[in-house]
């Protein structure tokens, strides 16, 4: 039976946590694409109805701020993995 010393186990867990933090940040792709898509649609609708531009910009910015939250989740998870494990 193979047994690991506690140092080996700690090393492997630390390495896995760091790898996990890196892969968690791949989630940043999603909000990036989505926010850019929202900006494109907002630009289109400003061109269609220039009168409503104030409302359109506010709605776009709020939608993007909400879409940002997934990116912030992955950031928080990455920071927790790096600094606590």
């Amino acid at each position: 039976m193979v047994e690991f010393s506690p140092e080996v186990i700690d090393t492997v867990i630390r390495a896995a946590a760091l790898l996990g933090a890196g892969f968690a940040m791949i989630a940043g792709i999603g909000p990036g694409i989505g926010q850019g898509y929202a900006a494109g649609k907002a630009v289109e609708s400003v061109a269609r109805d220039p009168e409503a531009r104030g409302n359109i910009i506010t709605t776009m910015l709020l939608g993007q701020a909400v879409a940002e939250s997934t990116g912030i989740y992955s950031l928080v998870i990455a920071i927790v993995l790096i600094f606590t494990i």
Partner: protein
């Protein structure tokens, strides 16, 4: 959002609000004597301002292109910008006189202000419509 027709005015307004908000961390780090935080924050803020100008110039150039070439142009420019951000954060992490987290927060200041601005605008709109209903 009165000056929405004029992108230059909107930029100046956003930068003014950003600098106003930045005074708080700058003055408090100055009083506390944490000079690396102060320099890191100012470094990030200056870079963010310059990159906002760069983004504006890129958009102006992209608008005179065809749809597909504009798409490609902005995508390539974003990757250049990404490399610039990497260089900035890298030098902030290597340099002992610059605090890394303060530089990152300085880079984010403009985004905070834009989101805050839209929230304030939404609240103003909501209260205005409620007020009109009441009248």
């Amino acid at each position: 959002m009165k000056d929405i027709n004029d992108p230059q005015k909107v930029q100046i307004k956003i930068l003014k609000i950003t600098y106003l908000f930045s005074l708080f961390p700058i003055i408090s780090s100055l009083i506390a004597g944490e000079y690396d935080i102060l320099f890191g924050f100012i470094f990030g803020l200056v870079i963010a301002t310059l990159l906002l100008r760069l983004k504006y110039n890129n958009i102006i150039r992209a608008l005179s292109m065809e749809e597909e070439s504009a798409e490609k142009f902005i995508r390539n420019r974003y990757f250049i910008e990404y490399a610039l951000y990497f260089a900035v954060l890298f030098s902030a992490a290597r340099n002992a006189n610059l605090d890394f987290l303060a530089a990152a927060v300085g880079l984010f200041m403009i985004k905070f202000v834009v989101i805050l601005w839209s929230v304030v605008d939404l609240l103003k709109d909501t209260f205005q419509s409620k007020f009109d209903e009441y009248k």
